[in-house]
Homo-oligomer: 267 residues x 4
């Protein structure tokens, strides 16, 4: 990209390396997905197809970036955790944010027909992205807890709201007024008594969001033609689950993440 | 996005507003397009279909962002100029970069079948993005000149190289050695004498790259049913052209861009 | 500063170059000078000695940094303008801010006895510093106008306030109430009618603040011993004045500053 | 600082908060102290008076900023550690750097006569300053180790160099050549055999640099007039020592610093 007398303009680019040895979280969030969801007739409050498109896009991020060790998604957003010692793009913020957001976006569009069949994309799904550096395991875990707690709060609210409106025949305004200030117990009771919905039995994907991480499995990579013996190798494959990522358990089960599991030791 | 005791993690996000009253240039560039071009059998040195996909994606950016007044594209990259007084996303760098890169990416994928027909996308096209602030019209014009001069240099090189290899039967190494250190005159002569190619007659899109900007046209918005009279209104529509953006002429013809046209007065 | 295995910690320093080709303004401001002024019994509302200490410190900045072309001071603050193409410390923000603030501070302490005689410094005078990049002459001039207009507003207020309190025998609360919401005319009349003070005749240093810049003078650098002839050379010496820096006039008289003088052409 | 139409220029100031929950290290370093040392005839390789002026200035920083828990100084530099949860100036980088550098500078000038007696300051001592965020105790300790290891390396080099030159009558060039590539053992032997200097017996201030921190002591705050009983209270007073800050010991003895002492647990 060299051509003499104009090239000085490169000097206006900012160096923007994220602080070394911090966890890097990249969060993407759909732009104007309220409208996008309406335009594509997403089911309310949760559209399983839409969430699966998100999950596919997230898996593509883990496939492409070995340093992305974990992802968490809900609604129109996904967060990706990059290893704290990653040197991806020299930790340059704009590079990391733009490339992950771009890959997520392309993968979303390409995954769409897999889950929406013939229903066409009517407008471009667009995501904003940001990167945040977190200096310790404790703060990283609080970040993840923040997002998953948010999933719970929103989903419980939305589930009651749409039950009241769609099944209970309440106006949206009335439904909102009823929920306002109510506690978890009331919400669960209302769902159960009035609509026969056991909140705890709703799909984990709605209640807990989605987690992407690598599962290491022994896979058959080839079969020896002569002996018929299988050659097996360990392979780390990105998968989706809906585990709790607030408590210690998850981190104890996944020491490979390198995230402190002992809630008492973290600060 | 509120939930009490974890929410403090938001405080780790950086404020990243770009300096006010500077032109903002967002440049996206294909990630590993060398491989992507090969995988999708792009024609060499220029694949008109691929360039048109890029141009469609660029038009989508201008459609979506009124403050994006100009774009310039070549090869796997596109630069967008945002008005110097834009307040888009409070001029937050990560927002601007990620959203434009994401929209560009989604539009690229969606435009693909329009130009490549049945040839499927075999992998996700991914773009990096960056934003740079330029404090004056003079520097902005030097930026644009930098990119268009680059187009010329690369295209001339590539055109000769692939003529020597594909038509001249030279090995790539030999071709490279022949071109190395040669001047423009030698390149033009070689193309003309040996391969009958008049460089100046090659498509402007290859030689000059592509410019996207708004053209204001009077369009018929409706026809009065009773009187049969047409109601016309001015509409600014994004279009592609291949004009020279190095000299003053272009800026004189497009005062609406607000970019100083007088080369002598700038700086 | 090299020693092997610990040295990686340098990598945590941030690159912080200010945008090229922008004017850089460094403003220092006394920390807690309300208290500092009281402790050292500064005269109210203006202490000429204190202002002269500030001016001496500012002259030291211009002596040390040829790229500092202009300074403006009032109260406990001083702003310095660095040429827009300065490459001082690679335009690194922390370096520029810290070194100028440090030099200003050291010079303040060293200048103190020159103006305060035997009255000792009872505590360390401390200044904060900041650097701001301004992309055009127009905005730079607005910055300078901002500070000088502030000087006028504050000085007029303070002059009336202390006249009412010290000479008029009003309580501070009463004085404040009287001034609140009053216009310039009322303030001038009050000063004149009640206290015989013609605001326009107060020292320019109080009304306009202080400007430091270089004056180019022909100076005798030596006298030829044999012929007795003087050898004269142009020398640019930092000086203090109290000119208006809001209007065009000042910039017309000082083309060497490289700041557009024509108010109409700017922006 | 309000005055209407010019005030928009404030909007060009950058927000520059340092990442939360990271240790902040502010390092100041004398500008051109090679020349400053020569001009003021500092003793070589160490001038105890000069180092004590530095230490006094460092104590002033600890006096003024409770969140500055530790300082380390050598030669013309001092590093200050701010608590990782400090909210000083909203963690704004320019404020923190400039104010600490300014206070250090003012204190240096004011401390000068205490240690240099009548020898006047011939020029302004100027310091640059910078702030760096360190995300973990481990990296912070490596930072401190980096500086103290540097002290040792430089001091050993300089001690041998000046012994060879001043006492050994070698030319500077010859001395340099002799030391080049030599190891610690050779340096110690040379000092001992040729000059009778036992390196380990040199003042700790030269070998280890200086550490400033708070010592909590019970002090008599008043004596009851009636009973004659002393009223004692704990007071944390900044003091200077020359302890090793590379090993674990120091941090074990100073749990109040909140820096992990167990070398094995840090990462
Ligand atoms: N019906 C339906 N809507 C969904 C689903 N997932 C997400 N959405 C919609 C509803 C929410 O209004 C929106 C996500 O909220 P956001 O706060 O991200 O708002 P939005 O994307 O509209 O604006 P933004 O550009 O992010 O500021 O996406 C779903 O599964 N079903
Ligand atoms: N055959 C062919 N290749 C093209 C065309 N346009 C772009 N390319 C390919 C060839 C270049 O190697 C590549 C663009 O160069 P870059 O410097 O952006 O490299 P690349 O994208 O491979 O790496 P990067 O990720 O940007 O560092 O894209 C085209 O029209 N035809
Ligand atoms: N009596 C007197 N006081 C002055 C003079 N010049 C400045 N001061 C004092 C009065 C003001 O309260 C103070 C400057 O106002 P600032 O807004 O800078 O406040 P201050 O320095 O107290 O706080 P800061 O640390 O800057 O936030 O300095 C003077 O000539 N005479
Ligand atoms: N004679 C003598 N010189 C000292 C003493 N402490 C510091 N210096 C001088 C010698 C070193 O050249 C200088 C510190 O080295 P620096 O790398 O900071 O260089 P300097 O301050 O000259 O340049 P700079 O502006 O920091 O890049 O200070 C001392 O105790 N005695
Ligand atoms: O052509 P560019 O600007 O992308 O140049 P590069 O050499 O690819 O550098 P970068 O790492 O900034 O993309
Ligand atoms: O949910 P977020 O973090 O996107 O919150 P927001 O209120 O949309 O704010 P932003 O402007 O940072 O996207
Ligand atoms: O010793 P330092 O960190 O000051 O190192 P330097 O080589 O002087 O570099 P800088 O320009 O960062 O002061
Ligand atoms: O007068 P300023 O610019 O110092 O204004 P301030 O209100 O003191 O704010 P700051 O915290 O930026 O010094
Ligand atoms: Mg948002
Ligand atoms: Mg959204
Ligand atoms: Mg959302
Ligand atoms: Mg690149
Ligand atoms: Mg590319
Ligand atoms: Mg490219
Ligand atoms: Mg202030
Ligand atoms: Mg002040
Ligand atoms: Mg002030
Ligand atoms: Mg240095
Ligand atoms: Mg130095
Ligand atoms: Mg030094």
């Amino acid at each position: 990209m060299a051509n003499s007398r104009f090239e000085y303009v490169r000097g206006f680019e900012r160096h923007d390396a994220l602080l070394p040895l911090c966890w890097i979280v990249v969060r993407v969030d759909g732009k104007g997905f309220h409208r996008f969801a309406d335009a594509h007739a997403f089911e309310k409050p949760n559209d399983a197809r839409a969430l699966r498109v998100m999950n596919d896009a997230a898996l593509a991020v883990l496939e492409a970036f070995p340093d992305a060790v974990l992802g968490f998604g809900e609604s129109d957003e996904y967060s990706f955790v990059l290893k704290k010692d990653t040197t991806l793009y020299g930790r340059r913020e704009a590079k990391i944010v733009s490339v992950i957001t771009s890959l997520f976006t392309a993968s979303y569009v390409m995954a769409w027909p897999r889950h929406f069949g013939d229903a066409p994309l009517l407008s471009a799904p667009v995501f904003d992205g940001r990167a945040v550096a977190y200096p310790s395991d404790a703060v990283l875990r609080d970040y993840l807890a923040w997002r998953q707690a948010d999933t719970h709060i929103n989903n419980q609210y939305n589930t009651v709201f749409w039950a009241l409106v769609d099944k209970g025949g309440e106006t949206p305004a009335k439904a909102q007024a009823m929920i306002k200030g109510s506690d978890t117990a009331w919400k669960n009771e209302t769902l159960f008594e009035r609509f026969g919905i056991n909140y705890a039995h709703l799909p984990a994907m709605y209640r807990k969001g989605s987690v992407v991480l690598r599962r290491t499995e022994e896979v058959v990579v080839k079969v020896d033609a002569a002996t018929g013996q299988e050659v097996r190798r360990k392979r780390a494959t990105p998968v989706v689950c809906h585990d709790d990522i607030i408590g210690d358990e998850f981190y104890r089960l996944h020491p490979e993440l390198g995230i402190e599991a002992d809630g008492k030791r973290r600060r």
